[in-house]
Amino acid sequence: MSKRSDMTNTHNWSGQKLVSTDYLLFEAPREKHFMTGSEVLKEAMKRCTVDASVSYPITPQSEAAHLIGELWAEGYVGTYFRGENEFGVMSEVAGCAMAGARTVTTTSGPGTLRAMENFPQWSGTRIPCQLVLMARGINSPLTIQPDNLEVSFMLETGCMIWYAENVQELFDMSIAAFTVAEKPDVHVPIITVVDGFFVSHTREAVMLPADDIALEPYDPYKAPLPPIDSETPPGRFLRDPFVMKSNYISYATHASWQWEVRSAVERSRPYAEHYLKGLIHITGEDDAEIAFVTCGTASNQAKEAHRELMKLGIKTKVIKLRTIRPFPAKELLAAVEGIKHIFVPEFNVVGWLEKEVRKELYNKCEADIVGGPRVAGGMSMPAEAIIAEVMEKINPGKGA
């Protein structure tokens, strides 16, 4: 059975050999598999020595949650249970993590918003849990289709936010996520985002290391706040950030606490740089004057547009942002040097990524920034839509 007490110095409770994150991500031999994003998330969690997972069904993440539950039945996950709703789930995740458990959960769309109060509470209590957010549309009107508007609600929660483009990135990113979130000087929650359906339900080739190796367990005694622990002095029955004690709190200490949480996100940069091999990935021509700034599957579509535009003799490059929090401002600024037109294709109506890009480049870059194309509510973003946007800009009125 899965119990911490079954661990040894070399193996976890399920008998997997404990290895470093570097070995698991960069050195271990890999074999090709053909899997959906949900299946690949199960494979990632199988290699993460996960103590606890809490679930609640909502499309499209239900399958991933279900598969992590199978991991519990197979003895790889210590504790698994279903919450009463998403608010309950995120509260229970907080409880598990405060008690020192490496904890993961998944959600989507309206479930994210139903649980909303918990996310800044997570970061405020400095738990290093992971939420895999399989983005989908938000009511109303009701939709279960792909859309990433919900990410805009998460931007200022004090959590780290990483964005995976495909199943391979989901696998690698969700392993690296625990490692970075648990660094003592970081120790804030991490939200690993993928576009629902496009990644969660799409089968792709993915390179996986063997499943008899796994991450070292989480050590809650390296946390910046003590875990709930009635055994080790000073006994803690409640994890108690002093901001919870209103009798001693003032605006100043609360402000300082909030800056500290955001400072923790900033401290994650060098770790993310290492494990993600850069906060941004660039595809395309070095001397391009047109750039697409993207995240998630919009990157994939932008790369397709880049290939088609190359055939027309138009040089472009795709700057894929892998971390949204921390925002890779310095890297983006360097990447857009010499660029005249920046396009920000997005799967949402509000253009939250465009706003982020504009804010960071304001007064620092002379490129013309175009917020688009944008699709939402489940519409796909064909490369033709991106190409049309570009042609309208550089060849007005004449179309693609």
Binding site: P224, A252, T253
Partner: protein, 189 residues
């Protein structure tokens, strides 16, 4: 006081918003400069030996004999205080209280910001404290006092301290004590 930049009107600065983050492994931080650990240890010893009311604040992780490492560290910290001619104020609860505690009235208001204010401490070592509480306290102390704060951290260090050394285990404290004795001899104090 940070009244401009990313922190806007927050009364307390945050070093990360000035581009300073914790030092890489094997290195230390003196203000915003990444330096060798030994260089930092020498500067820390110098500060502690030359500033008024130099004080060591041992936190819960070295106040309780909850591990062999904690016991060993506690013994070494006592020796460290003797070498540095420093006071020692145990910091069981180092969460910064502000502003309702009346430090003149409350018995042992052992909170770093209040203690530093009240005792006019000009150099202080934080050791054995939980990182996040320490970071918040360090921000407040940095903004409100002229105390030279030093974080001797068993984990990744604290950029809001004036000097921080990281990954400090018992063997590192032994090294620091040796260096502090040399500096003390050089200074003739």
């Amino acid at each position: 006081m940070a009244n401009q930049g990313p922190a806007y009107y927050s009364p307390y600065p945050a070093a990360t918003y000035e581009g300073v983050i914790t030092p890489p492994e094997g290195k230390a931080l003196l203000l915003e400069d990444v330096v060798d650990e030994e260089t930092a240890m020498r500067e820390i010893a110098k500060q502690m030996l030359t500033k008024e009311n130099a004080t060591i604040f041992p936190g819960p992780q070295v106040l309780y004999a909850w591990s062999d490492e904690a016991k060993r560290k506690a013994t070494l910290i006592k020796e460290m205080a003797e070498v540095l001619n420093a006071n020692m104020i145990p910091m069981y609860d180092y969460r910064p209280k502000y502003p309702k505690i009346d430090a003149e009235v409350e018995i042992n208001p052992n909170h770093p910001n209040l203690t530093i204010w009240e005792n006019k401490i000009k150099a202080a070592i934080f050791i054995g404290v939980h990182c996040h509480y320490a970071n918040v306290a360090l921000k407040i102390v940095r903004a409100e006092t002229d105390c030279y704060t030093i974080a001797m951290c068993a984990l990744s260090g604290h950029e809001d301290a004036m000097a921080t050394i990281r990954d400090q285990h018992a063997s590192d404290l032994e090294k620091f004590i040796k260096i502090a004795k040399e500096v003390k001899s050089e200074l003739g104090v």
